[in-house]
Symmetry: C2
Subunit: 332 residues, 2 copies
């Protein structure tokens, strides 16, 4: 890295002190008009740009935040990243993105790296089998605030941005009931994640509210992989009263399930309707799509997470550290 022009060089060339140059360029009112002109002129001529690293060092902050997501091939998270990025850019912050691939050891390694990088704060999606937030707690103890996004543990002390899960699941279930399905199913997400429980509750509540207008079965896959979804579908479809209205924890699961049907029960493809969480951009390319999706507004969630994090970083008392974003049903 070639050396950049520094304040000192400018000051030498102008015959004024370094601090004068600094102040002039930072619009300090105590600098005379004439001097300021000269300084600004030379700075432009020499293409002076302040050394951000030095500045950050001096201010004891990095103007960088970390963003930890499971997988950047998941469009939900891509949109969330964009949301974070928008707000961050507006506030002069940079964003360091890393993916855990839902492996806890990777997650911990990333955490170490982020601490080394001196991030001012963190936005994170925990891995599905995380039950222990100690690594995160250590960061917080070191003064680096953490905002959890999308997935959370049941811990009121954690700042978090999530979907209004129960309501959204209820809306989705009502949609399936309205379409006249007699046998419903819900394919759940990772058990230790709050959202799974909440969506399940919404599903069950909707059935209750409608006086058990239909039967509902809960299926619990081991992971979010296609293989596990296939296994669940195989089980469900083997029943005589197989479900025809299926709510999926993630739209990706619904897509996998549809692929399974196409392969194994093509004749049922038109009887069975899916609703999944996540209104993904890629849906528009699909010929067989879920009947509807819950728009989770990941971009908005990202924005809110970043705003919340900025408050925590600046030690301002955040009005609320639990933000819930409403979901909307989008019929395809």
């Amino acid at each position: 890295m070639k050396k950049l022009v520094t304040l000192k060089e400018l000051s030498l060339e102008l015959g004024v002190s370094v601090s004068t140059v600094s102040k002039a360029l930072n619009n300090d009112p105590t600098i005379g008009h004439y001097t300021r002109e000269r300084v600004e002129h030379l700075a432009r001529a020499r293409h002076y740009i302040p050394n951000q690293v030095a500045r950050n060092f001096q201010r004891r902050r990095s103007l960088t935040i970390g963003l930890i997501v499971p997988n950047v091939l998941d469009q939900f998270f891509v949109q969330a990243i964009n949301g974070v990025d928008e707000v961050a850019t507006a506030k002069q912050y940079s964003v360091l993105v890393s993916q855990t691939l839902d492996v806890e050891s990777r997650s911990n390694a990333i955490l170490d790296l982020m601490r080394l990088d001196g991030v001012d704060g963190l936005i994170a999606t925990i891995t599905p089998n995380t039950t222990n937030l100690t690594p995160y707690r250590q960061l917080e103890a070191a003064g680096i605030p953490v905002v959890y996004i999308a997935r959370s543990l049941n811990d009121p002390a954690c700042a978090q941005v999530t979907l209004l899960n129960t309501d959204s699941a209820r809306i989705a279930t009502n949609f399936l009931l309205d379409r006249g399905h007699q046998q419903l199913a819900y394919i759940n997400g990772p058990t230790n994640v709050n959202a799974s429980q909440q969506r399940r509750t919404g599903f069950e509540q909707a059935l209750q509210d409608r006086h058990r207008l239909a039967d509902g079965t809960i299926y619990q896959p081991n992971s979010l992989t296609a293989a596990d979804t296939d296994a669940i579908m195989a089980k469900a479809m083997a029943r005589a009263d197989y479900p025809t209205g299926i709510l999926a924890f993630k739209t990706y699961m619904a897509i996998d399930a549809i692929t399974y049907l196409k392969r194994t029960y093509p004749e049922r493809l038109d009887q069975i309707e899916f609703v999944g969480f996540g209104n993904l951009p890629l849906l528009k390319h699909l010929s067989h799509k879920p009947a509807a999706s819950i728009e989770e507004n990941p971009g908005l969630m990202g924005q809110e997470a970043m705003r919340l994090l900025m408050q925590l970083i600046s030690d301002k008392p955040a009005e609320s550290t639990h933000i819930e974003v409403p979901g909307e049903l989008v019929v395809h």
Copy 2:
């Protein structure tokens, strides 16, 4: 950001000098065994972590590189990002990702930001209508090397990583010829990008080589949007001798074209075969896919770009500043 433990604090507590502590922690052989033990012990106990910002400042580098891509919803670039990230992580580097959305003004704003952030180097995909690399040149003049990825201008002075475009296009075209298509078409990419010309050349060469076994028409859309692809398809399909074997500059265009056919000429859906550049993960979810794709190995391209950039940053004479990655035909 709460203050972290510093070398000074450790030294005070141990009653030794700061430099002793520093050396002890950096495995300087001139430090006595006993002292080193004491220092290391206390450092662990106090959870000392070196202040990376101070370190970077002192070393005049940021251990950060910038990565500029058109769109993070494009799976090609997501995979490229991953490739960059792998190599970067291994070399202790962090990656700052920003997207231009193919808007040149955004691209320039990002460039300014990256310079402010003090990145040590840059990997960039230029916007399609970029003809003037001046903003990039200024960065390079400031000692910040730039590696162009995926898209390039015809300028041998630029370090770049691209696909072996001509060869790949020839392979793809031969595939369509082998499938017996009499009328071929190639839907081109942005005219000022090298890859467009090269792929076009490959298409034409393949036809030549096979003694004009089939007719080939070149179509030039204005942009990569679905609307423009639709317009091209409308034109092509209106002909009596409409093409049945179509090579697309990007698989996304092929997908858009298939969607168009499904809507407007469903009866032709099974006659027409596509090959597109980019073997995207989302293909597996599609019912009507291109007959084949060119695997562009975006992850590998990302890795190579990062390796090349590391060489440029370290001022090592890079063996080659033009890396071409071969593409493979993947039949679906």
